[in-house]
């Protein structure tokens, strides 16, 4: 996990609100049009794992130690996985739902904050903060991903 590194003068990292993740989790829409929320408790899944689904996999981000592709295309390349599709499969199967059920989950919504640090080599500072929301939509032919990036007015409370 710690061996792969590209030096850069700026890094963007994820910030989450623990209580929001714990209490609200994913926003969901079911096949019958009803909307609701999906939390770690609903899935009987440890919170430490659940937040990774919401903050990383929903955005298509693989785990740091994900298995490598069996090619010589480089150490950073990992096996391609359609993470959003996997999330639909995981949550619906866990809830015992099949695509024919009216309560089958067909849309998942998540949001996270992305914080950009600039001038890392000299005087690191928070340069910008963005609300990064994602909507995953399930269709019988596949999963579509819609991303929205909304700049926030007041990045990082501790900005100099």
């Amino acid at each position: 996990m710690y061996s792969a590194h590209h030096s850069s003068d700026s890094y963007t990292v994820t910030a989450m609100d623990r209580e929001t993740v714990r209490e609200h989790g994913f926003g969901v829409t079911r096949r019958d049009g009803s909307i609701g929320e999906l939390t770690a408790t609903d899935l009987n899944m440890p919170f430490r794992t659940f937040w990774l689904l919401l903050a990383e996999r929903a955005y298509g981000e693989a785990p740091p130690n994900h298995r490598r592709a069996v090619t010589d295309s480089g150490p950073y390349n990992t096996v391609a996985v359609d993470w959003p599709a996997r999330i639909f499969e995981t949550v619906n199967r866990t809830l015992g739902l099949t695509p024919d059920d009216s309560s089958y989950i067909v849309e998942l919504r998540a949001a996270r904050r992305r914080v950009k640090f600039d001038d890392v080599h000299s005087a690191p500072r928070i340069a910008s903060e963005t609300l990064d929301s994602v909507i995953l939509r399930w269709t019988p032919s596949g999963v579509t991903v819609e991303r929205r990036m909304l700049p926030l007015d007041r990045p990082g409370a501790r900005q100099q």
Binding site: T14, A15, P46, R67
Partner: protein, 311 residues
């Protein structure tokens, strides 16, 4: 006859005998260290409701995929947690030690699979521990300071432990630990080249990630540390040098070894506090680099400890 490389090889593995007690004390200490390690690694699994749903894994760990295990079994998970603790206590007591170690390793594999398969993350916190346990399992560590020894004595099947039998397991565990650290240093340079070493960003990046993870209200001392690129670079250089220097440990005296390992213990604790890297209990493994029976004997002679007891 025992000159040259072959002789040195033989001496390295078989002729640095410690007392048999040391082997038993290593088993006991590692067993005690495993308890907090299990808790810190698997405590999140206690939030699974045994009567609740069985979540389907997002990305199975390789052996789960091989075995076709695609969803958690809450009852089995709770049973595995209990069994893991019981087996670990059996290791400490030396009760059916080989079986206890085998069961412990099996439980670690199972529970690690439950945890890591849920989101696809694979953690390596148990690697050194499982190898150390496997080596103790095939050694005679369970026949010293143990209930197994009593049983073998009672049925007349206890045979003396030879010097080489106490030497090789300890040497093998030491060698594995050394290779693990050295391999981590090599991997950083192999995968990232000079990028890992040329500045402090390899550390700063993780300090930012950890600091901001739960919002700016909870920014930690790590965020403040990341403001000093030169300090971060110094720590990055230290990390690589320390990891690559680990093999030297096998050939130096007790004092420099102790100092080095003390610094490495600080390194792991700092990583835990600043970066959230849960290798807090790894330093307990360092006991294999010392003769614990000598330390025990010294402590027992120390005023106020052993002296008062014997007096």
């Amino acid at each position: 006859m025992k000159g040259g490389i072959a002789g040195a090889w033989h001496r390295f593995w078989y002729e640095r005998a410690t007392s048999a007690d040391n082997l038993g004390l290593v088993r006991i200490t590692l067993g005690i260290g495993l308890i907090p390690l299990h808790i810190s690694n698997f405590i999140s699994l206690l939030s699974i409701d045994p009567a609740g749903r069985s979540y389907h894994y997002l990305e199975q760990i390789w052996y789960y995929r091989l075995l076709g295990m695609d969803q958690v079994n809450p009852h089995l998970t709770m049973f595995g947690l209990g069994l893991l603790m019981v087996a670990t206590v059996a290791i400490i007591l030396g009760y059916r030690t080989r079986t206890a170690i085998a069961v412990t390793i099996l439980c670690i594999f199972y529970l690690k699979g439950v945890r890591d398969s849920a989101a696809g993350d694979v953690h390596h916190r148990y690697l050194m521990w499982v190898h150390a346990l496997a080596l103790l399992m095939v050694s005679r560590a369970g026949e010293v300071l143990s209930l197994d020894r009593r049983r073998l004595n009672r049925i007349g099947r206890m045979r003396p432990i030879e010097g080489w039998e106490t030497s090789w397991p300890i040497r093998a565990i030491q060698s594995y630990i050394v290779i693990f650290y050295c391999g981590a240093g090599i991997a950083k340079l192999r995968v990232s080249g000079w990028d890992w070493l040329m500045d402090g960003t390899a550390l700063q990046k993780f300090l930012f990630i950890k600091s901001a993870r739960w919002g700016f209200e909870t920014l930690t001392i790590g965020y403040d540390l990341a403001q000093f690129p030169t300090v971060a670079w110094g720590l990055v250089v230290f990390t690589i040098v320390a990891e690559l220097s680990f093999p030297v440990l096998l050939f130096v005296g007790a004092v420099p070894r102790a100092l080095f390992l003390l610094v490495m213990a600080g390194f792991h604790i700092a990583n835990g506090v600043l970066l959230g890297v849960n290798f807090y209990f790894t330093p307990i493994l360092y006991v294999v680099f010392f003769d614990l029976s000598k330390i025990r004997d010294r402590l027992s002679r120390a005023p106020g400890i052993g002296a008062s007891r014997s007096g």
